[in-house]
């Protein structure tokens, strides 16, 4: 077909084609390995959870109000862990969503170029700090600070863990929201200005509605991140399962329960060992649901223009 290829002997051409296919196959296998990881995760969690649900009926798991798998009088109700997860996540979102959204609007609609160039990497560092360091900060800096305002606050509390977690996930909200806001075409803004609207009016009534699905995706993905966060809560919120919605109390989340059990020494195959997989499976399903919703929203904002 080309003069250059005809320089090669048929044998060399064949070898070359084989090599090309072999390389493609190797690269394909590498890509497929990511599917194997997922299969491994789902397989292990499902297998061990199956063992767990042989002992504990699903109804008890979902409705029992106590989680005491390691006591003599064992109860296996996931609710206390769910409320702990819920409270810390809600506090974190109450911090991260307003701050992250305001930052995103400010950086994309108002900030001068230089401010943006400096602020974005610094903000990204917020999510680069190891979570164990945030845990230390929550326990030994934020909690004592809060105790000056609320003297009755115990040494471990969901409030302090949630607040710090909220700061930690600001970049998740702000950077993805900003991407969505940047993707809104300039003409929409200009149309709004032409009608005499102010910058703020344009941002709130034109830009944000146009970028809504992207901004919503940012919220949902931040939520998934907060649900799966472990170390901040494990260090600052205590690890005792506690069925309460009061943020001033210590409590365990799904993740901290797994940490607590892992720190001890449970024999492989025991029901105590299986509980962490049942808890982990619940966590995986929760975050997976959030991620799928988040990705659907994200795809919608990508297609809009």
């Amino acid at each position: 077909m080309s003069t250059l290829l005809s320089v090669l002997s048929p044998r060399a051409r064949l070898l070359r084609r084989i090599r090309e296919r072999a390389i493609e196959l190797v690269l394909f296998l590498a890509a497929l390995s990511s599917v194997a990881v997922t299969a491994g995760i789902v397989g292990v969690l499902a297998y061990e959870s199956y063992g767990f649900f042989q002992h504990v009926p699903l109804g008890d798991f979902l409705t029992d109000t106590q989680w005491t798998p390691l006591f003599d009088d064992a109860h296996y109700g996931i609710l206390p862990l769910l409320t702990g997860t819920l409270v810390t996540t809600v506090i974190a979102l109450l911090v991260a969503i307003p701050l992250g959204t305001v930052i995103a609007i400010y950086l994309s609609e108002y900030a001068p170029y230089r401010v943006r160039e400096v602020a974005k990497p610094v903000l990204e560092m917020l999510s680069g700090v190891p979570t164990v360091v945030y845990g230390y900060f929550a326990l030994l800096f934020v909690t004592p600070l809060l105790q000056k305002i609320f003297p009755s606050l115990p040494g471990f509390s969901m409030l302090s863990a949630g607040l710090v977690m909220g700061i930690m996930i600001i970049p998740y909200v702000s950077s993805l929201s900003e991407d969505a806001i940047q993707a809104v075409p300039m003409q929409l803004r200009e149309g709004s200005y032409a009608m005499g609207a102010s910058r703020l009016r344009t941002a709130l009534s034109v830009v944000i509605p146009a970028a809504l699905s992207g901004v919503a995706a940012a919220y949902v993905l931040a939520m998934s991140r907060a649900v799966g966060e472990t170390m901040v809560v494990a260090i600052a919120a205590g690890m005792q399962p506690n069925l309460t919605l009061n943020p001033m109390e210590p409590a365990a989340t799904i993740t901290t329960y797994i940490v607590q059990v892992s720190l001890g020494d449970l024999p492989h195959g025991s029901i105590g060992y299986q509980t962490i997989f049942a808890a982990g499976f619940t966590l995986l399903l929760l975050t997976l649901a959030f991620n799928i919703v988040g990705q659907m929203l994200k795809r919608r904002f990508r297609q809009a223009y």
Binding site: L45, L123, L200, S262
Partner: protein, 302 residues
């Protein structure tokens, strides 16, 4: 006329208020970061000494150090990089350069997007069930490295894809025009040109892995390790030993977690010092990555 001016004044005021609000929100984020760094530095910096870096953990806070922790972190990171980097670059390259548009590709892509959102502790559970109890790898450097490697694999794949996608189509066509094969275009052109972006992504992913504690706790890292894994390089033939792979270990975040969880004040000081070292490591890596990204973005003009 007057009312128009009033409206303009009111709008300007609203804009001004929002700018203040935006700066305030930014300030809260940045001030927290600063407070965290200053707090760690105030408590931890006095503890940083040669002794702290060269001592094993101890029952006595003043004698304890992070020798086994930082050596362990370096070794685990070696395994992590060896696992995630080649696999991630290969997978990313396949998806951008070879993958046909079909359901297999769709599954792989959806799968990677979801893997990136799986909480790190779930990787730990997977490793506990699979690496420790199925493959019997034990609580070793190898297990920890592989676990963290799989954890950052999606990040490396995504970074590779973005970097490779940025290379213009005509570079590849130029190679084909000269009779080169697809692999030659990738090996000699696409990958070298996208190395900057890939490197940035890899460094950020590694800085994430260095700070990870949850999955390591799940696979049962020991916190009291008063010895070092065998050295990878030996004085006697065959000079290279892989015994360190199967050695028990501890890593920086685990050591810090252990010290934070103790009630004594003196151990909290150690925790602050360890946290400071860990923070400097990750911030340094992030800084390098941001600098690299900035440089490559400026330099490349197609």
């Amino acid at each position: 006329m007057r009312s128009v001016q009033q409206i303009i004044a009111r709008n300007k005021l609203a804009d001004g208020i929002f700018v203040v609000l935006g700066l305030l929100a930014l300030f809260i984020g940045i001030a927290t970061l600063l407070a965290l760094i200053v707090d760690l530095a105030l408590h931890g910096a006095p503890r940083l000494s040669w002794q702290f870096f060269t001592s094993f953990p101890s029952r006595f806070a003043a004698k304890a150090g992070i020798l086994s922790a930082w050596v362990g972190t370096c070794m685990v990171m070696l395994v992590t990089a060896a696992c995630a980097v080649p696999l991630g670059i290969a997978a990313g390259t396949y998806l951008e350069e070879y993958a046909p548009k079909n359901w297999v590709t769709d599954i792989i892509e959806i799968n990677i997007a979801n893997l990136a959102g799986v909480p790190s502790i779930v990787y730990g559970l997977m490793a506990l069930g699979l690496f420790i109890y199925q493959f019997n790898l034990g609580q070793t450097v190898l297990t920890a490295g592989l676990t963290l490697g799989l954890l950052i694999l999606p990040m490396v794949i995504i970074a590779t894809r973005e970097a490779v996608r940025a290379i213009p189509r005509n570079i590849r066509e130029a190679v084909y025009a000269l009779g080169g094969t697809q692999w030659q275009s990738i090996r000699d052109h696409v990958l070298p040109y996208s190395m900057g972006g890939i490197l940035t992504g890899v460094i950020i992913a590694m800085s994430r892995a260095i700070g990870e504690s949850a999955p390591i706790i799940t696979i049962g890292a020991l916190t009291f390790i008063a010895f070092l894994p065998p050295a990878p390089l030996q004085a006697t033939p065959p000079f290279v030993s892989f015994e360190w792979l199967t050695s028990p270990y501890t890593v920086m975040p685990i050591q810090m977690f252990n010290w934070v969880s103790r009630p004594q004040e003196a151990f909290h000081v150690n925790a602050a010092a360890a946290g400071l070292v860990l923070l400097l490591m990750t911030l340094l890596m992030n800084g390098i990555a941001i600098y690299l990204r900035y440089r490559f973005r400026k330099r490349i003009k197609w």
